[in-house]
Amino acid sequence: MSIIVNELNYIYNPGTAMEVQALRDINLEIKDGEFIGIIGHTGSGKSTLIQHLNGLIRATSGGIFYNGADIYDEGYDLRTLRTKVGLVFQYPEHQLFETTVMADVSYGPKNQGLDEKEATLRAVGSLNAVHFPEKHFYDSPFELSGGQKRRVAIAGVLAMKPEVLILDEPTAGLDPQGRDEILEMVSNLRSTQHITVILVSHSMEDVARYVDRLIVMNGGGVMYDDTPQAVFAHYKELEEVGLMAPQVTYVMHALAEAGIPVRTGATTVAEAKDEILSVLC
């Protein structure tokens, strides 16, 4: 079970003066249960890539295989693919539209053809999964706080029972606690429901803390694809493409330069703390 991206290219407005190559020779294999981060500056191709993964955009050339099947085959059921690969867009709360939270979350499953009862069950299950408080199930989604709205929007995607969950900047605009809650929740979903998670983020600190594998996009291509530690070791190259390493990585490098013999690989506060203590104490 996996997603294989093979020699993928995508060109916006081909053959016109506005032609832009948004994706360039992308090759990836995303295995079941992975927690992957995608980083890249604005316009690097992150969003275009993830929209290919559930068939929203069709590649100009190259292929995508979901669980061994070519999604561009004639007769391939793209509708089902879109429920299997759930995509949570940026600011998903802007897409809430129903009068109650429950109606909003069960809209997707109903659209899949489930009856009222099953759809409601799915909605309850996914609202519980995102730790949304039961007493607000029948409130209007528009009267919730930003963090709660976002949970409802994510629950709406989870109610489709996806096998892969892709989140495009799920924490933008949230306060530190809201940010931690959403990321903890996603991390839990992955371990308890065995969902593959792909997290697109501008927060280097967040990806360093949560993901096992980090893909760096630049100019429509994959620049790095490795563990966060290995990727952030290239902090100088990352700066040239609009990115950075987490602050603590810079601390470790500066310490090493100042003559304190620390290993510089730390990307989280916990790792940095352990390394500094092991050298200084």
Partner: protein
């Protein structure tokens, strides 16, 4: 320095009504807020979502006015409707999403839109456009289409658009929430320059703690009240208190605090990488 903003007991409630106009619920967004900002200050406002930060910001340029208490901006009471336009020109706002703030198809036209709207003579408009774009380091892009700019560049164009109105103060409501790391740095350094070189009073609302370490003063809000205020070093020395209020500290501060908890003798409130390095070198 002159007092630029003076707020006393500012209270504001959002009232929810049903279809018949009956009151369904009242939410107190600002609860007796006092705020003093001097001309040329750089202040930061922190607080969880829903703590009242944006509501307060909207009071400073008279988009909202206090239900009780008062707020004076540059000597003008925001209650007085005759002052509303003058206050909005004095205190310009920049919001989260640059795409919602840019309206023209060429950068320089976008920046000139504001002054043109208030009848500034053409020559003067072009002078202002040039000056504003230079002040945020975007003059080179004046003939570009905003569509082709990065997030950080777009946001700097939005700031230039506000600068072209010759404000004394800019209020930035999470201006970097949608930007990549370098874009965040670009916007922050543009804002710091405006503050230092042009003496513009800056009010920055953000969830990124690192962005606030250069502020003169930080205000922390919760449930419509100002619950902490002080210099960055004072505020970020109170790590546990901030955590109790669901806030964080800059990553360097957190690392220093964790190391201190583990027994290293470090001072409180370390804000920058350089401070932490020199303290650790002293210990080694």
């Amino acid at each position: 320095m002159d007092q630029f903003i003076k707020a006393r007991n500012v209270t504001f409630e959002y009232i929810r009504r049903d279809d018949d106009g009956n009151v369904e619920g009242i939410e107190t967004a600002l609860d007796k807020v006092d705020l003093d900002v001097k001309a040329g200050d750089f202040i930061a406002i922190l607080g969880a979502n829903g703590s009242g930060k944006s509501t307060l910001a909207k009071h400073i340029n008279a988009l909202l006015t206090p239900e009780s208490g008062y707020l004076i901006v540059d000597g003008k009471d925001t209650h007085n409707k005759d002052h509303t336009l003058a206050i909005r020109q004095t205190a310009g706002m920049v919001f989260q999403n640059p795409d919602n703030q840019i309206i023209a198809s060429i950068v320089e036209e976008d920046v000139g839109f504001g002054p043109e709207n208030i009848g500034v003579p053409t020559d003067e408009i072009w002078t202002r456009v040039e000056k504003s774009l230079r002040s945020v380091g975007m003059y080179h892009y004046r003939h570009h289409s905003p569509n082709r700019l990065s997030g950080g560049q777009k946001q700097r164009v939005a700031i230039a658009g506000v600068m072209a109105m010759k404000p004394k103060c800019i209020i930035l409501d999470e201006p970097t929430a949608m930007l990549d790391p370098i874009g965040r740095q670009e916007v922050l350094s543009a804002v710091r320059e405006l503050n230092k070189k042009n003496g513009i009073t800056v009010i920055l609302i953000t969830h990124y703690m690192e962005e606030t370490i250069h502020a003169n003063r930080i205000f922390v809000m919760e449930s419509g009240k100002v619950i902490m205020q002080g210099k960055p070093r004072e505020i970020f020395s109170r790590v546990e208190e901030l955590k109790d209020h669901h806030l964080a500290v800059p990553q360097v501060t957190e690392l220093a605090w964790e190391l201190k908890q583990s027994g290293l003798s470090l001072p409180d409130g370390i804000l920058t990488k350089e401070e932490l390095i020199s303290e650790l070198c002293r210990l080694s």
